[in-house]
């Protein structure tokens, strides 16, 4: 097998890097997004084929077998995952990428003599391990295997400090001595730091942390490029690190939060603790028939879909209800909060899955001035994104988050499973407002009954 010259290898890696830039660029606009993703995949293919011809590699059959195993795991999972579980899957893929970067760095340590290269090894191991462990915790929180409430124990900041100090010390020792033993200590401390970083983050902020850890993995991959002297890894990792950082900032500001506030807010005391207690204050409950009459004879209805809708797999039924109302001459639009669902932009994916026409989706800034002239707002499985506490109570964990101001509409109908508070674990005053009625039950079930009643009008 003849090998590629270093020049050809570098040129093919450059082509792959350009593909990645075009992929990110394409993903920024709805028209070009799918093509952008395909260009990225093509770039990855070019790079992987190139590496096999760039140097004399041993163990090629085993490597190909490992790639086949990885693909056999990833493709069915990626094809079959429910759209509601997308955030978990993205976090999972991110975590294994970070883990792979950390392992590559550990194995390269014995080949690294230069202290700068060893520093890059230390960085890759530490950040990769943080990303791996942190992502595992986010998956647990999103699956609700781990409590979505911030988890804290007494003295946690001190433990975190000790872990970081230990990581710095073992990192310095690895750079100075190249000791494999200390590198394993560093790996363990990195995993511990990842756990301690994400456990105190409250459920509502988990998506931001996924994005941040995504940027971390990018940086780990970039550093591994220094370790291996591979420019493609350096460029691709840096691109993801930089774009991931910007994306994290954009998302955090859509929630009215700073990134440091999200990571360390829980340490400042009780405010983010929230509550999972069921409120026993009185509310007005309603029947599907009453809701159907309210909706069927309204001029203008705004539907606010939330994660509860997605959990109940009700996105298709709500789309049908919107069509049925439109057929009666009701003006119906969907108001999409930027963080509706469990990940920024998640609800857009879910409604696209249900074929809701793009034109009937309204973003927060567009729809907020229109609530005053809206007869009824139908809130389906959402809570925190319409909670007026975000504007009125400075002590609330969601204070400062931009909300859909449904309180300004004439009437509000909530479809809710129970009086349990939302993902952020805070009570919603709007539920007790005189203009609010509640229809209890599974979102899809309630929607189907309302839909039936609307058709019978």
């Amino acid at each position: 097998m003849s090998l590629l010259s270093p020049e050809w290898t570098a040129l093919l890696y450059l082509a792959a890097a350009v593909c990645f830039i075009l992929a990110l660029k394409g993903l920024s606009s709805p028209k070009t997004a799918r093509r952008g993703n395909a260009i990225g995949a093509a770039g990855a293919l070019v790079a992987v084929v190139t590496v096999f011809f760039s140097a004399r590699l041993e163990n090629i059959p085993l490597i190909l077998a490992a790639i086949a195993v990885g693909s056999a795991i990833a493709v069915p999972v990626a094809r079959r995952v429910q759209m509601t579980q997308m955030p978990q899957l993205v976090a999972l893929f991110n975590g294994v990428g970070g883990g792979a970067a950390a392992l590559v760095a550990v194995l390269e340590l014995s080949h690294s003599e230069d202290p700068w290269v060893r520093l890059a090894v230390v960085f890759t191991m530490l950040v990769g391990a943080v990303s791996f462990a942190g992502s595992a915790v986010t998956v647990g929180k999103l699956q609700e295997v781990i409590s979505t409430r911030p988890l804290l124990f007494p003295g946690m900041p001190w433990v975190m400090g000790a872990v970081l100090l230990g990581a710095v010390i073992s990192g310095v020792l690895v750079v100075l001595t190249g000791s494999v033993g200390w590198s394993l200590a560093l790996l363990v401390l990195g995993l511990a730091a990842g756990l301690l970083l994400v456990l105190p983050v409250g459920g509502a902020d988990v998506p931001i942390v996924i994005s941040l850890l995504n940027a971390f993995t990018g940086l780990a991959v970039a550093a591994s490029g220094v370790v291996l002297g591979n420019v493609l890894l350096l460029v691709a990792g840096t691109l993801v690190g930089a774009s991931g950082t910007i994306l994290t900032k954009v998302m955090a500001s859509a929630m009215g939060r700073g990134v440091t506030g999200i990571l360390f807010g829980a340490f400042k005391g009780g405010s983010t603790a929230g509550s999972t207690a069921v409120s026993d204050r009185p509310v007005r409950s309603s029947s599907p028939e009453d809701v159907a009459v309210q909706l069927g004879y309204a001029q203008r209805v705004v539907i606010v879909p939330g994660y509860g809708l997605a959990v109940a797999q009700g996105q298709h039924t709500v789309a049908e209800l919107a069509t049925a109302l439109a057929a009666r001459g009701v003006d119906v639009v969907f108001a999409i909060h930027p963080v509706a669902g469990r990940m920024p932009g998640h609800m857009n994916v879910l409604l696209a899955e249900a074929n809701v026409p793009y034109e009937s989706l309204r973003e927060l800034a567009e729809v907020n001035p229109e609530f005053a002239t809206t007869d009824i707002v139908l809130v389906v499985g959402a809570n925190d994104v319409v909670n007026p506490a975000a504007k009125s109570s400075p002590g609330s964990p969601i204070y400062g988050m931009p909300i859909l101001e449904v309180v300004q509409a004439q009437q509000v109908v909530f479809l809710k499973r129970s009086m349990r508070p939302g993902f952020a674990g805070i009570e919603n005053e709007l539920l007790h407002d005189p203009k609010t009625t509640l229809l209890f039950g599974d979102a899809k079930d309630s929607l189907a009954r309302v839909l039936g009643a609307v058709k019978a009008l």
Partner: protein, 132 residues
């Protein structure tokens, strides 16, 4: 490549990374995060290099584990992003749009179409083959 050349590459890549995502609409945040996530799966190239130079069985074993993990990140990331984006470009769908279906179908039929939509979606998806 010397340290200064590497630094040059890094700095330029940082600016490109900032620039390309600065104007993205919030509608596309989930696919963009997922797509960027797939790109760092290119650590697969590093894992292949390490596995290809391994002689010690332990080193080889760990390197192959890294290859598996990196492949999951790379291939899974591109496939799942493609699946999401396929939904955004709704017009190529085989299932009838909700608009026409709703006129005839009752509430119970809606559940049926939802289920069919999930299983029917697996068929296309070129990115999987490409990334391999």
């Amino acid at each position: 490549m010397g340290p200064v050349a590497l630094l040059t590459v890094v700095v330029l890549a940082v600016f490109v990374g900032f620039e390309v995502v600065s104007k993205v609409t919030s509608k596309l945040h989930t696919p963009l995060m997922s797509g960027a996530n797939a790109i760092h799966g290119i650590i697969l190239v590093g894992a292949i290099i390490v596995a290809g130079q391994a002689s010690d069985p332990w080193v080889l074993g760990i390197a192959l584990l890294a290859v598996v993990l990196a492949t999951v990140n790379l291939v899974g990331g591109f496939v799942v992003t493609d699946r999401m984006l396929e939904m955004f470009s709704g017009h190529k769908r085989t299932r009838k749009p909700v608009r026409t279906g709703a006129a005839k179908a009752g509430g119970s039929a809606a559940g049926g179409t939802a289920g069919d939509g999930h299983s029917g979606k697996g068929a296309p998806g070129g990115a999987a083959g490409e990334a391999r």
